[in-house]
Amino acid sequence: MREREDEWTGLMRSAISGDSAAYHRLLKAITPVLRAAARRGLARAGQPIDQSEDIVQDILLAVHSKRHTWDVNAPFAPWLFAIARNKLIDALRRRGKRVFVNIDDFAETLPGEAHEETASASEIATHLNTLPARQREVLRSIAVDSASIKDTAAKFSMSEGAVRVALHRGLANLTAKLREN
């Protein structure tokens, strides 16, 4: 457990200093842990666990948009679990359930739970449709068609900088829409 969390901290440090591959690996590594905790939270609240992926994606977006609040000298896991806990409580409240989420729900994920296929959720996809056309197209191209920034720029005859800006604004808009919900 300790080792895993140290690895996360190392990956996040690299990510903050600009290593996008490390960032990708970190997000992949934390997702099964978040998923297991979201399922446990839903189950405990008597909710169907098939909504867990919306919560996972909500947490990932929050981690992304708030990663500047992480102190590079602090361990990553407590920061992550604080955000995850906050988002899980939020999600359960929105479903009309008052529950207490134990922070250990995140820390105590069993290794067996960490091997999961990717899963799909509808909430972000729904909000994606309400974005301005340019942001929507760029996000779709990168997310759904797995195109790189460069390919996306060529496809829409935009500069790479403009693609980056559209991507960033699109993600910020998605985050805001999820928060308004």
Binding site: A15, G18, D19, S20, A21, Y23, H24, L27, K28, T31, E53, V56, Q57, L60, L61, A62, H64, S65, K66, R67, H68, T69, W70, D71, A74, P78, W79, F81, A82, I83, N86, D90, T118, A119, S120, A121, I124, A125, L128, L139, I142, A143, V144, S146, S148, I149, R164, L167, H168, L171, R179
Partner: protein
Amino acid sequence: METDQLIRTLAADNTQRAQPVGFVLMLALLAAAPISVLMFFTELGVRPDVMTAMRNPFFDLKFAVTLALAASAIAVSLHLSRPEASLRGFGWWLLVPAGLLVAGISGEMMMPQRAPMMTRLVGNNSRVCLISIPLMSLPLLAAALFGLRHGAPARPAVAGAIAGLVAAGLAATLYASHCADDSPLFVATWYTIGTAVVAAIGALIGSKVLRY
């Protein structure tokens, strides 16, 4: 959307850097300060005997208290803007301005006074004080909340209340240069009530706008 797709998209956006919360908070406060200063000079203004007043240690103490409040509230609010932070171990910063006030009150008690205690406490400006500190705080409160929105506070209402203390501390600093009531008893009573009002407004708005 599949979670793997989302992850890939987030990783592609890693090059975009956000500014630290402290930087955004400072910029927002700097942008809002001229509005409060303008309100101060159009409605109140510096008291005419300011040059003599400056030789009175109790006049100077007002600024020590209000600036200490603003500074400690800024430090605490930046701490609280992190998702895993709590007030524990950090809240004692807020005792610094309170401690200065208590020291001032004890100091004044030990000196011979022309006016009785209640007269000093009630003063002549309590109404103006109660109105102008919250009013001049409002632009600064909006700025502080805007700055903290850039963070990820675990307890939005608490962070909002601290934002209120930041705004009230700065507004009270302006007000202190107008007010002719210098007794620490006056400050401890009326400034505190005005500040509490702003903190309550901050908590109320913060609980809505500081959720992330």
